[in-house]
């Protein structure tokens, strides 16, 4: 047995790709303690008092940004929000210059979302602050995968050996990539299914089975995780129409009946009701979608605490 991690080995959280299983376990264990704080009458602890966290969002985001903000506030950090639409290129300042400007204000953590894969890796090479990736392009969304794992563990008591099926627009999904990395690393049996026009390369390297039939993917699954299909993919060359997508890939109660009897249904949000998921499923007894939102705060508190709370 190797010694279990008591801290994260990197000062950044750029992706699940950089985490060992014991570090993933550490985040999940820490999140359990953080979740308890959220049940108190006074939901605030002084852990990050005097620390500064910048939320740097280059892409519109509601739930991830709010979830981080709430996590930071519950830990008593000072927070700054920078939300800017469009790429740094289009507004004439480079990402590095934006980062250097923020760095001059000496933040401890920069939580960052960006439309380009690898943008946080780029910043991590020049910034003194810890970088937390809150979603980079089509690459990773590590805190989403951690909160998904936390939610699965909460319901199922384990990750190893579970059959998890991830369904939807695979190629454009950072949620898929982070979940595939995390779940396979923790011993789950992962299947990914989506239209043949939206399959990414490389999943086989992670040991993920790739299918183009939702029925085959749902069959016997313990966890069914639906991915959002963005509207702009619904015209043109990826997919012919919303209607056809729902017919071929929408998760309906009938389709879900092939899953394990106690299967849970997840969605990272925001949902397209009637596109990838039927409302009867989203609002039904299988759904843990709102648990995911609640757990997101606890998991992000855990990540911030592990990166910024242990110093000195």
């Amino acid at each position: 047995m190797t010694t279990a991690a008591t801290s994260l080995r990197s000062r950044h959280l750029l992706g699940i790709a950089g985490l060992e299983p014991d570090e993933i376990q550490l985040v999940l264990d820490t999140a359990l303690a953080m979740k308890e704080i959220g049940t108190r009458a006074i939901k605030k602890v002084p852990t990050l008092r005097g620390r500064t966290v910048v939320n740097l969002f280059f892409e519109p985001s509601t739930r991830t940004r709010l979830s981080f903000e709430l996590a930071e506030k519950r830990l008593s950090a000072d927070t700054l929000g920078v939300t800017t639409s469009g790429s740094s290129v289009s507004k004439g300042e480079t990402l590095l210059d934006t980062a250097r400007t923020l760095e001059a204000m000496a933040p401890d953590v920069i939580v960052m979302r960006h439309e380009s894969s690898g943008a946080p890796h780029h910043l991590s090479r020049v910034c003194k602050a810890s970088i937390v990736n809150a979603g980079d392009g089509m690459h990773e969304h590590p805190t989403q995968a951690l909160l998904d794992a936390f939610t699965i563990h909460e319901r199922k008591g384990r990750l190893a050996g579970l059959r998890v099926s991830i369904i939807g627009d695979l190629v454009h999904s950072r949620v898929l990539r982070s979940n595939a990395l995390l779940l396979t690393r923790m011993g789950a049996i992962v299947t990914a299914a989506g239209p043949a026009t939206l399959l990414p390369y490389g999943l086989d390297r992670l040991g993920v089975q790739v299918k183009t039939s939702i029925d085959e993917a749902v069959d016997g699954a313990d966890v069914v995780m639906m991915l959002r299909v963005q509207n702009e993919r619904m015209r043109g060359l990826f997919l012919p129409s919303v209607r056809e997508y729902f017919t071929v890939f929408g998760l309906t109660p009938e389709r879900l009946s092939r899953a394990a009897p106690d299967a849970i249904v997840m969605h990272p949000g925001p949902m397209n009701r009637g596109v990838e998921i039927d409302s009867a499923v989203a609002d039904g007894p299988w759904s843990v979608i709102l648990d995911q939102v609640a757990n997101g705060v606890a998991v992000r508190m855990a990540v911030l605490y592990l990166l910024a709370g242990n110093e000195e």
Binding site: A17, S87, S88, V89, T94, L95, L96, H114, E115, S116, S117, G118, A119, H121, H122, S124, R125, D136, G137, M138, H139, E140, V171, R174, R177, P200, Y201, G202, L203, D204, R205, L206
Partner: protein, 437 residues
């Protein structure tokens, strides 16, 4: 001044020579090659037995950026980089600002190159006005001004019809049409080779077929028109198959490969913490099977030339997100060490075959002087120290730009000196050659 290069190993495949010879240079030309030549009034240069004297290397694919993008490179810094890398001549692509689509731009390039006075510069004119793919350029006029080939490089020759007409028209002047093979719809907004590495890094893919489908188109059109198409910077296994098949049918299809495509693979995208923009080029670094195919093509002769696609970019331009950084790397000052280390010392090709790839064939493909140490030929000579180890230091490049993925690499094989028209234009002081002034 006349020079007598004494006792070097002369590798001159055009004349079937590989052995210890003296080379006498007089009035900018090769006067004699033979044993124990009398020096006369020539300055005698003792060449170490380990050094190799060969016809000057010609890089048939570079971007000199002038006019218009002088923050990346100028003709003067570009040719300084060329001679430091062992190249006595370069052919420069037309995607400058403005594009080299008319004789006035060609003349400017020729004049600036003459003023710089280091390597020879052969301009390549645009196929279409503005490289927009709509109207043929005045190719006869471009040729008269000094262009040796036409290309819309940076972009593919846009339509099959334009390629057909360009091949037909350029063949009247015995000029090759050089194509950057890429189907724009299949490339899309891709930034890296479509495969598992880009897939897991979340980088949009450029599939191999985006290249090979254009190679197939061009090969078919070359066959129909009897014109000469030259495939620039070939990178994919499927493209090489198409070239081999076309050559077997007798079509006039030739191709080049860059050092980075026979040395590196897309695994490099994960190096240096990932997303290093010096690993971003077009065509992209491809998979292992593609890289191995390029090496096999060099070995078996189906690849005609090695060219660098020297593509200087300012450090600020490369310091962007991977998606936004420009494609391309500099190559002039690393090509020869990479070739010697990875091809000659790895026993992929002989020194003689390497000289064909870097000198004889580029001269033949572009119909320019060079590629030979025959008596009377221009004295364009590259001298190599094949066994000397060098470490690449981008900061010491003569090129204005330092965007290389090879910084810090140690390679076996160096350039000792470069001679253009009998004039020593570059000497490596550590080479042991008595040429340093």
């Amino acid at each position: 001044m006349n020079l007598l290069l004494k006792n070097g190993r002369v590798v001159d495949p055009a004349n079937g020579r590989d052995g210890q010879f003296d080379v006498l240079i007089a009035d900018g030309r090769i006067a004699r090659v033979g044993k124990d030549l009398p020096a006369g009034d020539a300055r005698v240069v003792e060449v170490p037995a380990s050094a190799v004297v060969c016809p000057g290397f010609i890089d048939m694919h570079v971007h000199l950026r002038e006019p218009g993008q002088e923050h990346k490179e100028t003709i003067a810094t570009g040719v300084a980089s060329a001679v430091a890398g062992g190249f006595t001549a370069v052919a420069c692509m037309p995607n400058t600002t403005p594009i080299n689509d008319q004789a006035s731009v060609t003349k400017l390039i020729v004049e600036r190159a003459a003023a710089a006075g280091l390597a020879r510069v052969y301009p390549i004119g645009a196929v279409s006005i503005g490289s927009k793919g709509e109207q043929l350029t005045e190719i006869a006029d471009l040729r008269a001004a000094g262009c040796v080939a036409v290309s819309d490089d940076g972009r593919p020759v846009a339509t099959a019809l334009l390629m057909r007409r360009a091949l037909e028209y350029a063949s009247m002047f015995d000029m090759p049409v050089i194509d950057h093979c890429e189907d724009p719809s299949l490339k899309g907004d891709g930034v890296a080779h479509e495969g598992p590495v880009a897939g897991l890094l979340g980088l949009r893919g450029i599939p191999s077929v985006a290249e090979s489908i254009m190679v197939e188109r061009d090969a078919t059109l070359a066959e129909v028109t009897k014109g000469h198409v030259h495939i620039a910077h070939m990178s994919a296994l499927e493209s090489l198959r198409a070239v081999r098949a076309a050559k077997a049918r007798g079509a006039r299809v030739t191709c080049e490969v860059t050092p980075h495509h026979f040395v590196m693979t897309d695994d490099s995208l994960e190096r240096n913490g990932g997303y290093d923009t010096n690993m971003k080029m077009n065509p992209p670094l491809r998979g292992r099977a593609d890289r191995d195919a390029m090496i096999e093509g060099l070995r078996d002769g189906s690849i005609d030339a090695i060219a660098t696609d020297h593509a200087p970019h300012h450090a600020d331009e490369k310091a962007l997100e991977f998606d936004h950084a420009p494609f391309g790397i500099v190559g002039l000052e690393t090509a020869v060490p990479l070739c010697l280390d990875r091809l000659v010392h790895a026993n992929v090709v002989s020194l003689s075959r390497l000289v064909e790839l870097l000198s004889v064939n580029p001269a033949r493909l572009l119909r320019v002087a060079g590629g030979t140490l025959a008596e009377g030929a221009p004295a364009d000579i590259t001298i190599l120290s094949p066994d000397r180890e060098v470490t690449v230091h981008a900061s010491t490049f003569r090129s204005k730009s330092k965007n290389t993925p090879f910084d810090g690499w140690t390679l076996k094989g160096a350039v000792a000196a470069t001679i253009v028209a009998g004039r020593v234009v570059y000497v490596d002081r550590q080479s042991g050659l008595g040429l340093a002034d």
